[in-house]
């Protein structure tokens, strides 16, 4: 299959595609073709299964032992006292506070939003989380509950607010037709979602139909566009627990970045194996290399399985020492988590008061 990128006249210089992607509205080019233009430059030809395979399978392999060893050594960094205090606040600022259950109700979402706005009622200096992450149909509830704290409204008043992220594209399995997936995305975007967390078609990826996966991401990216020009950010979930090998994760990461992802995200949290430090390190290496090639910054979001402050700080260290400290900002790094926040709050209270409290001293959402 061939995808019309509408970018045939562009030069094949990586930097120029980066320019185009960063400022899609200043050119006549559509958002989707800006994403695809990234690919065109690298693939040196039309985006097809064959050219994608040639490119993705030509990327150097990953040595699992070496990768895990490196991740383990990053995990031994010692972050204490004032650094730990800063790190804990930063972790909170990077959290996508998440509820993705079949049993989610408006009441549950309002409770989650309240927690996102005021994580620790006993400490007004506690920062807010980056976003709340819900199913698409609950986006209006979340936006209403956020009120003036919702990112676009807060921005109008010159403060940072909380974004609303919606999972879409037949989350978590992604097993639906493209039309259904796009309708899912369009609904969430129309409801006001600031960020869309889509899943890739793992079946197509594992069957080698890279072009199909690419095309779907490009189409979803297009569906993220809003008339007011303020596009929803696209996070592409690779579901690493189903891709299994590090080589697959690396290829899928490149594929998503080539197709125009703003973020690459590890997992849905719905399978047994979710975010791990090695897998996140590997994805950070991809965005670091992409930045080196094009000057363009893509975010990374580990999700699922990060429950303790200690683990979260290991991720911060890994980000800082792989992609660089500039990546430790909400638009370039997020934690997808639900129980992590309370553990961070307990640690913050410990630093503030000098002693550990307990589960009854932090609120449940």
């Amino acid at each position: 299959m061939t995808i019309d990128t509408g970018a045939g006249s562009r030069t094949a210089h990586p930097a120029s595609s980066a320019e185009a992607a960063r400022a899609p509205h200043t050119t006549a080019q559509s958002a989707s073709s800006a994403g695809a233009a990234r690919a065109l430059d690298l693939l040196d030809g039309p985006v097809t299964d064959t050219t994608l395979r040639r490119y993705l399978e030509g990327i150097p392999g990953v040595d699992a032992v070496g990768l895990e060893q490196r991740a383990a050594s990053l995990g031994t960094r010692s972050i204490k006292t004032s650094s730990k205090k800063l790190a804990l606040d930063r972790v909170i600022e990077l959290i996508d506070l998440t509820t993705l259950e079949g049993s989610d109700t408006p009441g549950k979402v309002r409770s989650l939003v309240a927690k996102a706005i005021t994580p620790d009622p006993s400490d007004p200096s506690c920062p807010q989380v980056a976003a709340v992450c819900v199913y698409g149909d609950l986006v209006p509830v979340a936006i209403e509950a956020l009120g003036a704290h919702h990112a676009p409204r807060a921005k109008a008043h010159g403060v940072t607010g909380i974004s609303v992220a919606a999972v879409a594209t037949a989350f978590p399995s992604g097993r639906a037709s493209l039309a259904v997936k796009l309708a899912d995305v369009a609904d969430a975007v129309a409801a006001g979602a600031d960020e869309i967390d889509m899943v890739i078609d793992r079946g197509a990826f594992l069957a080698g139909r890279y072009g199909e996966v690419f095309e779907q991401i490009v189409a979803v990216k297009e569906a993220c566009r809003r008339k007011d020009g303020d596009d929803a950010h696209l996070k592409v979930i690779l579901e690493v627990g189903e891709l299994v090998t590090y080589d697959n994760v690396r290829r899928a990461s490149w594929l998503a970045v080539l197709a125009g992802a703003d973020f690459i995200k590890t997992s849905t949290g719905k399978v047994t194996s979710n975010a791990t430090l090695p897998v996140t390190l590997l994805m950070l290496e991809v965005v670091r290399d992409w930045h080196r090639m094009t000057g363009e910054k893509v975010g990374v979001k580990p999700a699922g399985g990060i429950r303790t402050s200690k683990d979260a700080i290991k991720y911060l260290v890994t980000v800082a020492e792989t992609a660089g400290e500039e990546w430790l900002q909400p638009h370039l790094f997020r934690f997808g988590a639900s129980s992590l926040l309370n553990d961070v709050l307990l640690q913050r209270q410990k630093i503030r008061t000098g002693h550990y409290s307990g589960a009854d001293y932090v609120t449940i959402d």
Partner: protein, 419 residues
């Protein structure tokens, strides 16, 4: 020496293997129990980062004693036939780069095989050896079985030339190793030497690139490059040279140099003024010979001996920095075109201790490893040590093996063959 002979004659040679094993197990456990204390002492002793002494040196010391404790009652399977005999008193001289680990490499197999030991630590790093002596007292090891004598070259010489020593095991420089070989020639003393190295780390164009960079960094900047098996020559396939160098530079920029007792320090201090002078001399020579020098911008502490991680590009096989052992955090980068050329360049050195191969292709790794004249060949990793794996060199890197069954049999003679 007399104490060692007496302990050998009266106690250690008569003790059953399983009882000797019990002592070794006890020592291993005590090392584990006192691991933190030993790690701090080792960093004070040598200047290496606490991260390394804590995560590598001390755990390996314990592993070595555990491993050889298990051998003590199984000497029949050491490859020398039934009832092999201990040699007697072993004189052991160790270097300053891994003070306690080298001690363990020497003492554990010697005791397991039934020898008694006189060991001389390096003159700049005696601390952990003395702390270890305290552990031996704690373990209630019979007096005289292990004797630790501190001192400089003259002490070592006296040990080597002593008429009552049956075996000399030495780790250190090739020059001293030569002297020892000369002194022991014709005396009937057994000798194993583990000497210098100028290892090649060979990176092919299909290598898992990020892990290869890690391995290269670990290969040469581990322990400030004070490692005889350090991957001090990087051989990169020419078509990926620029990419590898760029990634290497970026990675080096994240290394932290400084206080060895800071848990986040990656690169510690140079062991002595003398060693620092040698590194400075050789790097100056590298520049004079036309190689391009690069170091990341990193703060160097005002007091003490420090050397920033340094890489040289445009190095030729004929350069001094590609031929002589620098024993510091200095990497010389050369290129090659084909596997044949890589093997030829890797072997083109008087040394032959270790080598590394980075490639995704298993068949190539095996074929290249076959062609390398190095005692240890790592594939897609570097500087990994295990007590079960023999370690030792070719050519001027010495002879004999330490570790594994081979390391044990270096302290044994076949039944009836002992003097």
């Amino acid at each position: 020496m007399k104490a060692a002979r007496r302990a050998y004659d009266r106690v250690w040679s008569k003790m059953s293997g399983s009882d000797r094993g019990k002592y070794l197990f006890r020592i291993a456990r005590l090392v584990q129990e006192r691991a933190r204390e030993l790690a701090v002492a080792e960093s004070l002793n040598n200047g290496k980062p606490i991260k390394e002494s804590r995560d590598l040196d001390i755990p390996l010391v314990a592993a070595w004693f555990f491993y050889y404790a298990g051998w003590a009652d199984k000497l029949d399977y050491a490859g020398l036939g039934a009832n092999p005999k201990a040699l007697g008193v072993a004189g052991q001289i160790i270097p300053w780069n891994f003070p306690l680990l080298m001690l363990a490499w020497k003492i554990a197999p010697a005791l397991a095989a039934g020898n008694t030991v006189v060991l001389k630590p390096a003159e700049t790093t005696p601390l952990t050896a003395l702390l270890f002596a305290e552990i031996l007292q704690q373990a209630d090891l019979p007096p005289g079985v292990v004797n630790i004598v501190t001192g400089a070259g003259a002490t070592g010489q006296a040990l080597v030339r002593h008429p009552d020593v049956d075996k000399i095991a030495f780790t250190g420089s090739t020059a001293v190793g030569r002297e020892i070989a000369r002194a022991t020639a014709g005396t009937g003393k057994r000798l194993t030497l583990e000497l210098g190295g100028k290892a090649a780390n060979i990176v092919f164009d299909d290598a898992p690139i990020d892990q290869a960079i890690e391995g290269v960094v670990n290969g040469i900047f581990f322990n400030q490059g004070h490692v005889c098996c350090a991957g001090s020559r990087l051989l990169v396939q020419e078509n990926v040279h620029d990419d590898v160098v760029e990634r290497l530079k970026q990675r080096l920029s994240t290394l932290r140099l400084g206080d060895p007792l800071d848990k986040n320090t990656d690169i510690g201090a140079i062991n002595s003024a003398e060693q620092l002078a040698r590194i400075q001399e050789l790097t100056a020579a590298g520049e004079e010979e036309g190689a391009t020098r690069w170091s990341p911008a990193c703060e160097i502490p005002a007091n003490g001996f420090w050397f920033a991680p340094t890489i040289f590009t445009g190095v030729q096989s004929s350069s001094r920095i590609a031929r002589e052992e620098i024993f510091g955090p200095v990497l010389s980068i050369l290129t090659f075109r084909t596997p044949q050329e890589a093997i030829a360049k890797a072997n083109n050195t008087p040394y032959g201790l270790s080598a590394g191969i980075w490639s995704d292709k298993g068949s190539r790794i095996l074929a290249v490893a076959d062609g390398l004249k190095a005692g240890v060949v790592w594939s897609n990793t570097f500087n990994r040590f295990d007590p079960a794996s023999p370690f030792g060199g070719y050519k001027e890197s010495g002879y004999g093996r330490e570790g594994g069954k081979q390391g044990l049999s270096a302290y044994l003679a076949p039944s009836g063959g002992a003097k």
